[in-house]
Symmetry: C2
Subunit: 206 residues, 2 copies
């Protein structure tokens, strides 16, 4: 199976680590500091941000506002890798708007900031973390929507999702990240308002 580096150790990073673990991937988790010790777990390797990346897939599992600091460390080391943007760039002071450019997306902006040969895939942002950890939304297996411009990168992401027992749905080119971010925003509002549970959310029925 594949290898994955997850930058960030919040709830979504942990959820994607569980996905990767179910898929049998080699997992590297890079945290902001090494102060918190992590129990040894087969297939898991821990490090701090700045360490060499060992994964073919690299997940930015930090708020999009922290992307510039991640790029300071890693921009020039991301050529040839698949970069997975899972962000929901919401203005959390108002919960009333996205912080991404209205005619673009955080994913497209990230792609522009990366070197030639890095392939950005938008994925997992329309999944509440619990639905990734469990692989189900309570009704059926979890569906993961993703978008990107590079077929090989999308195949790698879809393979990870499917190997983890979930349904992978390609929604199109990276321009569709604008719509995925709009939908992720709506989902987070709906969960915050109690109109869906954090264990369920939106799904695309078959």
């Amino acid at each position: 199976m594949t290898s994955i580096s997850i930058i960030g150790s919040g709830k979504m990073g942990a959820a994607i680590a569980e996905v990767a673990s179910r898929a049998g991937a080699d997992i590297q988790i890079l945290k902001r500091s090494a102060t918190s010790t992590s129990a040894a777990r087969p297939g898991f390797e821990y490090g701090v941000i700045g360490d060499e990346l060992t994964g073919d897939l690299v997940v930015f599992a930090v708020p999009s506002g922290a992307y510039p600091s991640i790029l300071e460390h890693y921009r020039d080391r991301l050529g040839g890798r698949v970069v997975i943007d899972i962000s929901n760039p919401i203005d959390f002071s108002t919960y009333d708007a996205l912080t991404s450019p209205p005619d673009s997306s955080t994913a497209a902006e990230l792609a522009r900031a990366l070197p030639e040969g890095a392939s950005v895939v938008k994925a997992f942002n329309v999944n509440l973390g619990d639905t990734l950890t469990s692989g189900t939304n309570g009704t059926t297996r979890t569906t993961v929507l993703f978008a990107g411009d590079y077929a090989d990168a999308k195949t790698a992401v879809a393979s990870l999702i499917e190997a983890a027992g979930m349904r992978a749905v390609d929604v199109g080119p990276l321009t569709r990240a604008r719509e995925l971010e709009a939908m992720g925003f709506l989902q987070i509002i709906m969960a915050a308002l109690g109109k869906t549970r954090y264990e369920s959310g939106f799904t695309l029925l078959e």
Copy 2:
């Protein structure tokens, strides 16, 4: 129950007429021309665009490109009414973008074009027509997402949806129509690509 005028006689207009019929509403359907005869049906009244509106709720069930011509007829007669915008303003020449302003929505633009006292509610645009006609997405009862700025107008729309046996979910102020339009766009692409059926689509799980 309430009364509803549906402007347009396409697939979505017919689906919303079925919803209104299940809800026990008095239904007026306004077509572009009277050439096609419609069989008499209890609770249904037919007319042509330009006729007086009899509904408290008014549905624009024409492509958003035709809104200007509808407004020529009705703009000054919409004060005090609830105007329901169901549009998915997709550029159908490319299927690659919305035609609404990126930082706004067709619903918000419509609200700006209407006189004082008209209340726009965005609704039904994230429902494929068949899920409205049947009241189910094949898995559970159909959920209808809606957004708007006026509580009375939203209550009227929610009552119609619920009286028709469906679940009504208020997603917030009319600014959320931007996100609803993004989601409706994504759903239409997914249906066109066969990634969901026209009888199902997206749903918000409970």
